[in-house]
Structure formats: structure tokens, C-alpha cells
């Protein structure tokens, strides 16, 4: 996963400010406040979906649907080719004088093959893009973001006032604020 891994890994980004919340309402308030200041939030990691967060931080619509379309198309073509080769070219069988070329019995095969490829393809690309495939070194900002904590990561740039950001996070109920740089975390 070489290139993508490097580009997407949090280790290879600028210094980040990481806030940890225990309560989703407080997190929601903090998120609105920070985005109103014009600060771009890199991402928020929550153990379960928090409705409305995606709109506040301006998450773009996922391209997974398009991936699904192409996976489905691949499956359809693959299965059609396969069954055409088997039924027509390699080993035509006379079943009760039914036609050998395109017959209704091809439809389930094509359909199910399409569904199979779509499901596996979407699963694969989803995990790939989210860096959750086997063998990818994942960078959990907090072990408990998969359990009961919500973690916000803001990538610092020249336009962001670091001290202001940290104090906003603390005022808005962050139980912990840390700094994350090249894989090293320091509590502030």
C-alpha cells in the first residue's frame, strides 16, 4: 500500500493538536465553535456515528458509490465472460433442448457475480482508504477512540493560532489536549 499509506498516514503530516472528549454534546459544541473560527478540522474519530458532525466539519460525499458501480461492472463482465466461455466455447451441453447461447439461467450467475464483486470490492476499498487493511500500521490517536472517547485532530498551519485553539478545546470540555507530531504524543 506504499504510496497511499505514506500520504494518508498521520505520521507524515504537520504537527497536530488532538482533543479528547467524553461527551458527544460537548464535542458537537466544540466542533461548531472551532469551525466557526475558520479552522479546518482534519478529522474526528468517534466509536459510533454522531449525526450532524459530518456536516459541521464539511465532510465531502464519499466516492464509495462510484467505486461500487465500477466493482459491479467488473463483476458483471467477469461473470458474463466466464459463463460464455464455459457454456458456449468450452463445453456446450444440451439440456432439454434449451438454447446454449444467452439463456435465462445466465441471469442469476451474472447478478450474483455482480453483487459479490460489489460487496467485496466496496469492503476492500473502504478498508484500504481508511487504512484498516491487514499489514497497515494504524495510527490510533487514542486507544479509547474505539471504545468511549471521541478524538478531534486539527492539523496546524500558519493561519492557525495554536494557543487559541488549545484554550478553545479546553474551554469546550476536552478532557485532554495533546500534541501529535511524527508519531509522538505529548500532553499539553
Amino acid at each position: 500500500m506504499g504510496i497511499l499509506d505514506k500520504k494518508l498516514s498521520l505520521r507524515n503530516r504537520n504537527k497536530m493538536i488532538v482533543g479528547v472528549w467524553e461527551d458527544e454534546d460537548a464535542l458537537m459544541d466544540a466542533t461548531s465553535e472551532i469551525s466557526h473560527k475558520g479552522i479546518a478540522i482534519h478529522d474526528i474519530y468517534t466509536p459510533y456515528p454522531v449525526h450532524g458532525l459530518d456536516r459541521i466539519i464539511g465532510v465531502k460525499r464519499s466516492k464509495l458509490a462510484r467505486v461500487a458501480f465500477f466493482c459491479g461492472l467488473t463483476g458483471l463482465i467477469l461473470m458474463t465472460t466466464m459463463i460464455y466461455y464455459m457454456y458456449v466455447i468450452d463445453w456446450p451441453i444440451n439440456v432439454g433442448n434449451k438454447p446454449v447461447r444467452f439463456t435465462p439461467s445466465w441471469i442469476p450467475v451474472m447478478f450474483e457475480g455482480m453483487v459479490l464483486c460489489t460487496a467485496y470490492g466496496m469492503g476492500f476499498f473502504f478498508f484500504w482508504r481508511n487504512r484498516m487493511l491487514f499489514g497497515v500500521k494504524n495510527d490510533l490517536l487514542d486507544e479509547r477512540q474505539t471504545d468511549d472517547r471521541m478524538v478531534m485532530a486539527v492539523e496546524l498551519s500558519d493561519s492557525i493560532n495554536e494557543q487559541d485553539l488549545i484554550s478553545t478545546m479546553k474551554n469546550k470540555g476536552a478532557v485532554e489536549v495533546r500534541e501529535f507530531h511524527h508519531g509522538v504524543q505529548t500532553v499539553i
Binding site: 460537548a26 449525526h51 459530518d54 456536516r55 434449451k98 435465462p104 439461467s105 441471469i107
Partner: protein, 478 residues
């Protein structure tokens, strides 16, 4: 929820707009006029074809296909003889073939001209019974699945399923009056033939334990009574919840129990209605998937009717709590079950095709060979169009598409039921005419009026439902 905007929840009371009242009444009147013209047409047409021997022969010959090789022989026989029991018995004898048992042979001329009215009433009654039933099914599913998103629109199916008894009466009357002409087996039952008699039909005799007049009249009434009772109970609970104190979940819990019971009963018994009323039109034919197919048809239509009603109320400025998120979910429901319908539509054929049962092909043979445009139209209206138009996310959130497609689906699935019945009753040369359109208009007008009228009877918002807030802030994501 802590995000900035707060949505105020308040009760809404629906009043039928004068326009809607006039529109539904005009629809019914127009339908009645068309039905009248259709009936008059039918009567005069049937009179002429009965009187002249030549016309009858021509009609049959024109539609002669390899599948109906004996048609020429028959036309003479059919036109010459009266509609006596003996003639029917002999026909069966004639078409008995060694391998496949007796095959259905169709003679429109044999049937009295009123048959067409009963057949169309059967279609209308059956379709609207099933649609209202499926609205109840939809309602029960929401409770059984603990669904939160649908609470803001739950009054809509609640109004729709009150139509079950009305539609069922129509269905029942149509069957009561037209039984012997609609159902081949009912006619056969009267003959009371023994295995040694000429014209004995072993398939119909084998089915007579289930397919008999007593079953036809008693079983559906019992089933409908059970369903209507549960529906009535659910409606009562829903109204009681409105007047109870906030936070009282006893009605909610009771509704879940009734819904679960309904789902089990419905799941096991819905096919019986389809077998008795529709599948028995082709009395010699078996299809194990037929109940599912009929369920799919009416289920899609029920979702479409719910969507249409929601969109109408929204257009009139009601249902302020319903937004694009709910529309999107209704669209997904509709899209998914359109595909489901197609799956069953195809697989009903595939089961027969795979299993090499040529004698079961007669259902498809007549529909494909003599009604090809209708057969293809069914597929295009009920699958291709909704599939293409509902596929995109933006389409499911578009208030125009979400009116046009459900409307198309309701018409399309009504036509689907028509297509299950008519070729089975009349044979190869039928068309959609004034009578069909008229009856459809009458009943859709009545249905619409009934729904709107029932919506006025209680507030549009289930204010004390425990999941109301979840539904108000429902979000399907970016």
C-alpha cells in the same frame, strides 16, 4: 442533540383542501362515466360477436398461433354451441393430451359480456385490498423493527390501511357475482364429474380440496377479519397514545406486540389470498412463488402510495417535520423493492424454466406470445424506469421525481395485476380500454378521498411517540 438548531414539535391538524375534494370527486365521476361507456361498448360488441358466426370465427383465426393449434376446430364448436355445461365438459375432453393433462383453452365468446366488468372489479378490489394491507404491513414493520425514522410519517399508513374493508367488499362482490365466469374451476365444480365421466379433469379434481367455493368465500373473510381487527387495534393504540401523558410507553410496547403478531399471521396467510383470487384464474397452473410475487407487487405500490401521500401533504404545507432525509429513505425503500419485484418477476419464470416443466409454461406462453407489448411494458414501467430514475441520491431528494415515479409505480402495478388476471380469464385478444381506465379512476379517486378524509380524523404528528424526536432529527448523512 446539542447542535445549534432546535426544531419545534407541534401538532398539525389536516383539513382537506377544497381543490383536493373537487379533484377526487371529478376523478370518480369521470371514472364512472368512462366505466359506463366501457360497459355499453362491451355490451354492444359482445352482442354482435355472438350473433354472427363469421365474426367469431374471424377473431379466433386472427389470433391463431402454433400454441393454439386446435383453435380453428374450437371456434366452430364454441360459436355453434351455447354456454351449456356439456359444451365445457367436451372442450376439456378435446384438449386432453397424453403428456401434459388438460390444457386451458380460451373462448371469449363463451363468456357473458358482464365477465369483463367482474374481472376488472376483481383487479381493482384485489389491488386496493393488497395495497392497503401492505400499508398495514409497513406500519407493523416499523414497530417490530423499532424504527425511529418513520415516526413523523406514521399517520399516513395509518390512514391508508383503513381502506382494507372497503376494497375487500369490492373484491368480494366481484367474485360473488362473476365467480363462474372468472374461475374455470368454479364452473367445473358445478359439473360434479367423476373420474369415469367424459371431461373429467384430474388436475382440477386434485385441487378441489383447496380450490372450492366454500374456501373462496369463507377463508378470505376470516383472514381479512383478523387483519382488520389488528389494524383497528393498532390505530386505537396510536390514538390513545396521543392523549396520554408524555413519556408513557405502554401504548408503544403494546403496538410492538400487536405488530409482531400481525407480521407472523400476515407472512403465513398473505399467499392464500393471492392463490384463491388471482392464481386460481389459471386454475391448471401452479406457481410456488406466486404469493411472494403478489406481495412484491402490492408492497411496492403501498410504499409508492405512502410516498405520494407524504409528498402531497408536504406540498400543502403540512408535515413540517418531514424533510429530505425522510424522503430519501422512502426513495430507498421504493428503489430496493422495485428491484425485489423484478427479482421475483424473473424468478417465477426461472423456477419453471429450470425445472423443465413445460405444462406450467402456459401462463407465460399466452402472456408472451399474445401480449408481447404488454409483457415488455410491465418490465419497463415497473423496473427499468424507476431503476434509472431513482438510482441517484439526488433523485431520491428531488420532490418532482418523488412524485412522478411513485405515481408511475402505482399505475404500473395496477396494470401488473390486470395482466395476471385478464389473459387467464379471456385468452389472447384483450386490450386496455375505456372500461379499465374508468374503473381504475373510480377506485383511485375513492382511495385518495378515503385516505385524505381519514387523515383529518387525528393530528398528523404522533406527539407522544417515544421515537418522535429521533425521527425529527433523522439524518442519512452527507
Amino acid at each position: 442533540m446539542g447542535h445549534g438548531h432546535h426544531i419545534e414539535i407541534k401538532q398539525e391538524n389536516f383539513v382537506i383542501p377544497a381543490k383536493a375534494k373537487t379533484f377526487t370527486i371529478i376523478l370518480m365521476l369521470l371514472g364512472l362515466v368512462l366505466t359506463g361507456i366501457g360497459i355499453a361498448n362491451q355490451k354492444s360488441h359482445s352482442g354482435s360477436s355472438h350473433n354472427s358466426h363469421a365474426t367469431a370465427e374471424n377473431t379466433t383465426e386472427k389470433h391463431e398461433t402454433p400454441a393454439h393449434g386446435e383453435a380453428a376446430d374450437h371456434s366452430e364448436h364454441a360459436a355453434a354451441s351455447e354456454h351449456g355445461a356439456a359444451s365445457h365438459a367436451e372442450e376439456h375432453h378435446n384438449v386432453e393430451t397424453e403428456n401434459f393433462g388438460p390444457r386451458m383453452e380460451y373462448h371469449e365468446q363463451d363468456k357473458p359480456w358482464t365477465t369483463k366488468i367482474w374481472a376488472n372489479l376483481l383487479v381493482a378490489g384485489y389491488f386496493f385490498t393488497m395495497v392497503s394491507l401492505c400499508a398495514l404491513f409497513w406500519y407493523a414493520i416499523q414497530y417490530a423493527a423499532n424504527a425511529g425514522w418513520s415516526v413523523t410519517i406514521k399517520r399516513v399508513p395509518e390512514a391508508i390501511f383503513t381502506f382494507i374493508p372497503v376494497a375487500f367488499v369490492v373484491l368480494f362482490v366481484a367474485v360473488l357475482l362473476g365467480k363462474n365466469d372468472l374461475y374455470h374451476w368454479a364452473h367445473y365444480e358445478h359439473l360434479g364429474l367423476k373420474p369415469t365421466d367424459a371431461g373429467y379433469d384430474r388436475i382440477l379434481d386434485g385441487k378441489s380440496g383447496f380450490l372450492n367455493t366454500k374456501m373462496l368465500f369463507i377463508l378470505p373473510v376470516i383472514l381479512i377479519a383478523i387483519w382488520v381487527f389488528i389494524g383497528h387495534k393498532l390505530r386505537g393504540l396510536s390514538l390513545a397514545e396521543d392523549t396520554a401523558s408524555k413519556g408513557d410507553v405502554t401504548f408503544f410496547k403494546k403496538s410492538i406486540r400487536f405488530s409482531a403478531a400481525f407480521l407472523v399471521i400476515f407472512g403465513f396467510t398473505i399467499s392464500i389470498i393471492a392463490w384463491l383470487f388471482i392464481m386460481s384464474v389459471d386454475a391448471h397452473w401452479y406457481s410456488t412463488i406466486f404469493g411472494v410475487y403478489n406481495f412484491a407487487t402490492s408492497w411496492v405500490s403501498a410504499i409508492a402510495v405512502i410516498t405520494l401521500t407524504v409528498m402531497y401533504l408536504k406540498n400543502q404545507g403540512y408535515l413540517g417535520l418531514v424533510n429530505q432525509e425522510h424522503m430519501h429513505d422512502l426513495g430507498k425503500f421504493m428503489f430496493a423493492f422495485t428491484v425485489f419485484w423484478t427479482y421475483i418477476w424473473l424468478f417465477q419464470y426461472l423456477l419453471i424454466w429450470y425445472a423443465q416443466i413445460p405444462e406450467e409454461m402456459m401462463y407465460y406462453q399466452i402472456r408472451y406470445e399474445n401480449y408481447k407489448p404488454y409483457f415488455l411494458a410491465n418490465f419497463f414501467i415497473n423496473f427499468v424506469t424507476p431503476f434509472v430514475f431513482l438510482l441517484m441520491r439526488s433523485a431520491k431528494r428531488n420532490s418532482k421525481i418523488m412524485v412522478i415515479i411513485p405515481a408511475l409505480l402505482v399505475v404500473g402495478h395496477y396494470f401488473d395485476v390486470w395482466f395476471m388476471v385478464i389473459p387467464g380469464v379471456f385468452g389472447p385478444n384483450q386490450h386496455i380500454g375505456i372500461l379499465e381506465v374508468g374503473i381504475f379512476l373510480v377506485f383511485s379517486g375513492l382511495f385518495a378521498f378515503w385516505i385524505l378524509n381519514n387523515l383529518t380524523k387525528r393530528g398528523l404528528v404522533a406527539v407522544n411517540h417515544p421515537y418522535l424526536e429521533e425521527s425529527v432529527y433523522h439524518d442519512t448523512g452527507v
